[in-house]
Symmetry: C2
């Protein structure tokens, strides 16, 4: 079985489950979360296989890794339009943003310097609306 291949690699059940898990999720999952969810459908899978699958899927471009929390990696299925992330330092929420104008500016900048950009990552930290007001209220002495 496994007629499907991705760039020469076999699309095994484990790899497919990892990819589907990321596609089905709207969040940015870390490896442990992917493991947990895949394990519900494939109890014998190991965390090592999840990591190996993620690495492979990243290599093929089907999956992207971001370093949101500055700590460990988070993964998401690649989408047609690239998007970027805003992390709220107050509540931890991650907002996805499209930034076509910024992207365009970056592309021009690279072109002007002769740099060939293959991946652009933009990460913004700050406070979302709710946390801005919460912060104001909370920090009054």
């Amino acid at each position: 079985m496994d007629p499907l291949r991705i760039q020469g690699y076999r699309l095994t059940r484990q790899r497919r489950l990892v990819l589907e898990t990321l596609r089905d999720s709207q969040e940015h999952l870390d490896a442990a979360a992917v493991f947990e969810r895949v394990k519900a459908r494939e109890p014998r899978i190991s965390l090592a296989t999840v990591y190996r699958s993620l690495a492979l899927l990243k290599e093929t471009g089907l999956v992207l890794e971001d370093r949101l929390g500055e700590g460990h990696g988070h993964f998401e299925a690649a989408q047609a339009t690239p998007h970027y992330h805003f992390t709220c330092l107050g509540c931890g929420r991650v907002v996805e943003l499209q930034a076509p104008r910024a992207l365009e500016a970056v592309r021009e900048l690279c072109a002007a310097q002769g740099l060939q950009a293959t991946a652009i990552s933009l990460h913004i930290r700050g406070y979302c609306i709710q946390c801005q007001s919460a912060e104001t209220k909370g920090e009054q002495p």
Copy 2:
């Protein structure tokens, strides 16, 4: 001694050496590299102190941490104008870029969504001029 203070913290010899090391270096050093260099001037310093100093200096805003190599952290002394990084996937070189137009676009975007941005990080990966030609040559069959 140590009359200088940074935001209530003592500016100890160790902390000063860590900061100076980053200011003197044009590269983006990781903790181990900082440790190595500081150790040349202060052999008794420990890696733990380097990490603690870096955390403290980050907190004061004197030092910035970037996640360039996707793996461990790299540090640099904060400068007046923010800049961003292009990492060449061929040779590993890191090019610093200023991107005022992109920055402006990001700021507008956040403002439009009511997000208060406190830190913006932009990281571009790709190939520098040299590696573009090298790649072309190298990959001819």
